[in-house]
């Protein structure tokens, strides 16, 4: 066990730090990502054939740590890098990889993940968006997706569709890459509870998709989707990078405010900071353990879900504490200096406990796949999708 950088890691860290300090804060988010890519710091773990550097998970973690240290924002194409790209690498054709991956890493194209539907969130395999194959072998897609992060800016998406309703629901799915500028695609932004609009409804009205844009085999979409979901949980909870507000930032904020509170409040605030901080440290170091496993070439397992579960919980608690110590200003959206950063952090966090698998669904996964507890009874087991609708 050794937390210190190896000589190689230390050299890498120095080069990342030097670059980030030289290149300064981001202006246009796409141009910034492109510059970072050109400098070699995006898609670090991706194979070179996919436009990456063929680097190690530790190298990627070091980039994340250094960006976080400087308070830099997340990359704009995070869903592309974290979820869509790895899925294309694993299941795409050579042609698709050549066409998409490098542009994705440079944010020349932005990507989104078109999985959830109004009637298919936790029960994702219940989705209804239909893809029907024509005589020419190409496809037509109709249906509706929802909660699609970044769809209003995205150029492409990975799209999970139903291609066969007459087999059990997990077996009749097929995955595609879809061009969001294709005829028949309509994107409508949805406003979130924090007032911003990052996610969307996406409507497909007889949208043509060439068969060459299929990812994986026909009917094998669930396997492809599992690749995405596995990477999603890892990128949301693994690797020791925090979800939501950083615990150090909250500690600084509480330290600045705590003197203005009464003695009883101070004791309570310290208890809550202590609890949130211990949970955040626990999540961080559990992420490091995960990273060490990945570095040895082990695959991320279902225990990655634990990181998302606990990281989200502690981030929610810390954001809530940060708002509480504002005193009377905790009742309004902005402090007198116009800063509403904590109130906004508080209003963003509930979504994190839903996105990428809700807390309850993650508990089911851990309970069944890690602890080996008996599975949920499933009323639709053994039925074809069409039968389960009745």
């Amino acid at each position: 066990m050794d937390f210190d950088d190896t000589p190689d890691e230390a050299a890498w860290r120095a080069s990342v730090r030097a670059y980030l300090e030289r290149c300064g804060p981001p202006g246009d988010p796409r141009a910034w990502q492109a510059a970072l890519y050109d400098a070699g710091f995006v898609g670090v773990t991706w194979p070179e054939s996919a436009g990456g550097r063929g680097g190690t998970p530790m190298q990627q973690a070091i980039v994340d740590q250094e960006m976080s240290r400087l308070g830099l924002p997340a990359l704009i194409n995070l869903i592309g890098i974290g979820m869509c790209g790895p899925t294309v690498i694993m299941h795409g054709s050579e042609e698709q990889k050549q066409r998409y991956l490098k542009r994705l890493l440079r944010a020349d194209d932005l990507w989104c993940q078109l999985f959830s539907e109004p009637a298919a969130g936790s029960d994702l395999a219940a989705l209804r968006t239909r893809a029907v194959r024509g005589d020419d072998g190409d496809w037509r897609v109709s249906g509706q997706k929802v909660w699609t992060t970044l769809a209003h800016l995205a150029d492409y998406g990975i799209l999970l569709t139903r291609t066969d309703p007459d087999v059990p629901k997990h077996r009749g799915l097929t995955m595609f890459v879809v061009d969001l500028k294709a005829p028949g695609v309509t994107v409508r932004p949805l406003r979130q509870m924090n007032g911003e609009a990052h996610f969307n409804e996406v409507f497909f009205d007889d949208v043509p998709i060439p068969d060459a844009e299929r990812l994986g085999e026909v009917g094998d979409g669930w396997t492809v989707a599992l690749t995405t979901l596995m990477n999603e949980r890892l990128s949301l909870g693994g690797g020791g990078t925090a979800i939501g507000p950083k615990s150090e930032t909250v500690a600084r904020h509480v330290a600045a405010r705590i003197g203005a509170l009464g003695a009883d409040r101070q004791a309570l605030a310290r208890q809550e900071l202590g609890r949130g901080y211990v949970a955040a440290l626990g999540a961080r170091y559990t992420g490091y353990r995960q990273l060490s496993k990945l570095s040895r070439g082990e695959l991320p397992g279902p225990e990655a879900s634990a990181g998302k579960l606990s990281g989200t919980r502690s981030a929610r608690d810390l954001a809530d504490l940060a708002v509480r110590v504002l005193g009377g200003d905790a009742r309004v959206a902005t402090t007198p200096d116009g800063d509403g950063v904590w109130q906004n952090a508080q209003a963003v966090m509930p979504g994190m406990a839903i996105a990428g698998g809700s807390d309850q669904v993650l508990r089911n996964i851990i309970g069944e796949r890690v602890l080996g507890l008996p599975a949920e009874p499933r009323a639709d087991k053994g039925l074809t999708f069409r039968e389960s609708l009745r």
């Binding site: 208890q271 211990v278 353990r289 508990r363 309970g367």
Partner: protein
């Protein structure tokens, strides 16, 4: 960075686990509670195994190992509720570092030590003949009279200590004392980790077998999710324990925060685990015959050792605020 145990640690844990399981276990803890039978492995057998002296330098007859080595053994001790606690040996090894003769006595068993804090019954006072304490900032050592009251957890050897004639081992020893406490908190958290991991296993096994309304109870989310929350807490605790042990060995600056975090997490996690697993067992879990209460007893006592969880969370908060400004 490689944040995982090495093969050497795993081998050590396996060997220690075998020894401790053979020597102790819930049946022994029960006998100690029921009829005052001695706690096992007990000082003599434990000292013979060499495990308690892992962190004592080889020059004094110890193993010359790290706190991490001791922590992986302590996890195994926690699984079977073994006694006396490795926390006592870990603290004594820190406090006696500049006293080779006494250190050798700790390692060969000729000194039966307990570390006397000032806040009530002392861990492993029962059977101790030599006590270490902090008096007016000085580290003192001497004999004492021990009074044992009704134990909640008999494996902790708790007793009230009246110190006899003491000698000063070190003046202005607050720093040293704090370090001993922090290494002790780390090892205590590791014992808590082992106990919590073990009681979770017991709960999971039962949840797979016991059926109600035609289904195993583990298929009910109320049960499943309760056990998963324990699992998540246990894995976080494991990370914090390893970090604290590593800090004790390699990063003294990180030890105060890491040890306080591990102590706090251990106190809440073991308690959560024991309470949950009693619930999972229903009426059986509330019987004297079932082992669950033995772990529950550990939880209810351990949370007050080396400061309680409230104090540990407070310390984490103060250190975090200090570091951030």
């Amino acid at each position: 960075m490689n944040f995982d145990l090495d093969q050497e640690h795993r081998d050590l844990a396996a060997a220690a686990g075998e020894f401790l399981a053979a020597a102790g276990g819930p049946a022994v803890a029960r006998a100690a509670l029921d009829g005052g039978a001695p706690v096992r492995p007990g000082r003599a057998e434990l000292v013979k195994s060499g495990y308690p002296a892992i962190t004592v330098p080889e020059s004094a007859g110890g193993g010359g190992g790290s706190v991490l080595h001791l922590a992986v053994v302590a996890e195994q001790a926690g699984r079977v509720l073994a006694g006396p606690s490795l926390v006592t040996y870990a603290r004594a090894a820190v406090l006696l570092a500049d006293h080779p003769d006494r250190l050798a006595g700790l390692a060969d068993g000729s000194l039966a030590v307990a570390v006397a804090d000032d806040d009530g019954p002392v861990l492993d006072a029962a059977g101790a003949d030599t006590f270490l304490a902090l008096r007016d900032g000085d580290l003192v050592c001497g004999p004492g009279t021990v009074t044992v009251r009704d134990p909640i957890d008999a494996t902790r050897g708790l007793g009230d200590v009246a110190l006899g004639e003491t000698v000063v081992l070190a003046r202005d020893a607050e720093q040293l004392w704090r370090r001993g406490e922090r290494v002790g908190r780390t090892v205590l958290a590791s014992e808590g980790l082992g106990a919590a991991a073990r009681i979770l296993e017991i709960g999971v096994e039962y949840a797979k077998e016991r059926r109600t309304f035609g289904r195993p109870i583990g298929s009910y989310q109320a049960i499943k999710h309760m056990l998963v929350d324990v699992y998540v807490a246990v894995e976080q605790l494991r990370s914090l324990v390893w970090w604290a042990a590593w800090a004790a060995d390699h990063a003294p600056g990180e030890l105060p925060l890491a040890a306080a975090a591990a102590k706090a997490a251990a106190a809440t996690t073991l308690d959560q685990a024991a309470e949950a697993v009693i619930q999972v067992h229903g009426g059986i879990g509330f019987t004297w015959e079932h082992d669950a209460h033995l772990y529950w007893r550990r939880a209810k006592v351990d949370r007050f050792l080396l400061g309680d969880d409230v104090a540990a969370f407070d310390e984490v908060a103060r250190l975090a605020m200090e570091a951030s400004s």
